[in-house]
Amino acid sequence: MARIEVPMPQMGESIAEGTVSRWMKKVGDEVTRDEPLLEISTDKVDAEIPSPAAGTLVEIAVEEGQTVEVGTVVGFIETEKGAAASTPSGDGDGDDGDSTKAKAKSEPAKSEPAAKSGPADAPAAKAAKAEPVALPAADGDGGDETADDRLRRRSTPLVRRIAEEHDVDIAAVEGTGRAGRVTKSDIMAYLETREEEPSPASAKRPAGTPAPPVGGDGFWDVFYSQVRHPEFSPRAADRVEPMDRIRRLTADHMVRAKRIAAHVHSFIEIDFTQIDRVRQQSKAAWETQGARVSYTAFVAWACARVLREFPMVNSTVSGDSVIYRGDINIGIAVDLDPGLIVPVIRGADELNLVGLARRIVDLATRARDRKLKPDEIQGATFSVTNPGVLGTLVGMPIIPEGTAAILGTGAIEKKPVVIEADGADSIAIRKRALFSIGYDHRIVDGADAARFLARLKETLESFPADAG
């Protein structure tokens, strides 16, 4: 016999809790797998929760009318002798007593009867068929469970998210919740004590994750990692809509990015006459190769080369260290209207102009079709955004987290300019654009940024005619 937990399932991304509205079975009732066991309600939706296994409902832990966090165990099913099943949240045999992490660690993968299905996909999840492997008694230890399963079962998505954000191994946290589960207060307490110890590994921290402050009291962790948007009351004629996922992620990221990097912006004007000349000359040749070479491709090409000379522009501050990136990965902002995504050209300095142009067209097209792969929007070491495409003179962009700088390109327009030839000044009509660089003043000095812009200008204005 095995005792299986029935957790409050995750029924949607923005759903953190659910109310048990009705138990469709009584304690002692037999259920078949996938037979509706209880009903939960959230907002305007009632949902049936199927039984994760065949057996008998032996305990109701959350009564009708009670509201609990996702992941909380609402009841227990005892399976028939020898029958094992995994719950949608990936539980193994589901003992509820044991919680020693030593055990979970000492027997990590003896056998894995339980499916590692995604966390609580509720009715959609298919419980994997598990061959019975001499299951322990209900009071015993869950030897056949993988550590992974155990951890997942022991914490709510909220706790797992906090753990992930702070790079915490949940197994190292003492759980005081039901069945040794790590609760939110457990992990918060753990984080507080951890901060008192110095962290030697700050340089290994992934980009974008702020280093834990030395000797803080949790305040800085919250300051660096969490964003709360103040609320305002709507008026009669207003429309109130929840932010979708991309919008919310963007909103949080922008606030964090501005909170952390010391933003400074510098500007330069760049002449596109030479670039135009090259484009005219090579257009036909490019067309035969099926390539469309935009101004953005030229800019990315120039950035990729100039960045090698300015390692601090291709770096990020990480704790008390600076990570100088070995690769040049350029993020290119793509307007999805509504929304925005920043696909990344990896190894941009290894591509020639036409190669870059092709890559940009490919990424932008797939971005608009929502067909980018997750790793194609990660790992940028420098970014380019082009407000100029919509006629804007230039902008002052926010530096994405985990990088040191972003280039903003303004509208390329014909302007009268004074040019000097053979010692004589004259006025000519030239195509010019304002460029801006937003840089993190913690690591990039004003003179560095000025030199970077000057080199970029020089590279673009003297673009070799045969570089295509």
Partner: protein, 237 residues
């Protein structure tokens, strides 16, 4: 000029599925509940495609799972006089009223594999209705914490859904087309006391034929859910 976005935001397009749209005419509430029950079972085992039932109900007050007794403002005698039935329903939400001139939609969909999110489902239904009434020149919107579609501070459409084992949906939405809004005085709609109700007829000059609303809702529904609508069948199954 924002730069963001974590992994997992890129979606993969699913091949378009069929949405069978069925116009049932006027159906008593209990019959509609039974029909839905059968269709949910059939949908679960893939005997039918996703289906959108469109219909009207005779006067009826229905109670959702979180209904409060004091949100029905008429007693049994008054109800009998007005010819209003009262029913428990298996949907989420509070008390609502259905009656002639109101387009009721019951989508029987399988939300697997890519739409298994209750909030998203409700927001999508709101989106369908907002787009549908926009086709009649009416600007509707959402209100935080108050599911449904609102025109200003008046509610034009109510939503209450059920998701059965296996992510199969039933119940759905009710859009006031030219409903006699006085019947709403019998209840506190969805438990919200501030803000009244409205109908398309009240917002649009001229007449609003139910058939046109039906076709528009079906088309917008197919758009929002990425389904291919089959022509509305004018028959009762």
């Amino acid at each position: 000029m924002v730069h963001a976005v974590a992994p997992g935001t890129s979606g993969t397009a699913m091949p378009a599925r069929t949405l069978e749209v069925e116009w049932l005419g006027t159906v008593p509430y209990a019959e509609a509940v039974e029909l839905q029950r059968q269709l949910v079972d059939a949908r679960r085992v893939n005997h039918v495609a996703d289906r959108l039932l469109l219909l009207e109900h005779p006067h009826v007050i229905t109670l959702g799972s979180s209904a409060r007794g004091d949100h029905v403002l008429v007693d049994d005698a008054q109800r009998a006089l007005l010819g209003i039935e009262i029913h428990d329903s298996g949907r989420g939400g509070d008390v609502t009223y259905h009656g002639p001139g109101q387009l009721v939609g019951y989508p029987i969909l399988d939300l697997k594999p890519d739409r298994t999110d209750l909030h998203r489902y409700v927001r999508d239904i709101e989106e369908v209705l907002i787009r549908a009434i926009a086709a009649f020149g009416v600007v509707g919107g959402r209100r935080d914490g108050c599911t449904g579609v609102w025109v200003g501070n008046r509610k034009i459409a109510a939503i209450g859904v059920r998701v059965s084992s296996g992510w199969i949906t039933s119940h759905g939405f009710a859009l006031n087309v030219d409903t006699d809004l006085r019947f709403f005085d019998a209840i506190v709609p969805c438990g919200i006391r501030d803000g009244g109700v409205t109908s398309l007829a009240e917002c649009v000059p001229g007449s609003v034929p139910m058939e046109r609303v039906c076709d528009t809702v079906a088309a917008r529904f197919a758009d929002v859910f990425g389904l291919t609508a089959e022509p509305v069948q004018r028959s009762v199954s």
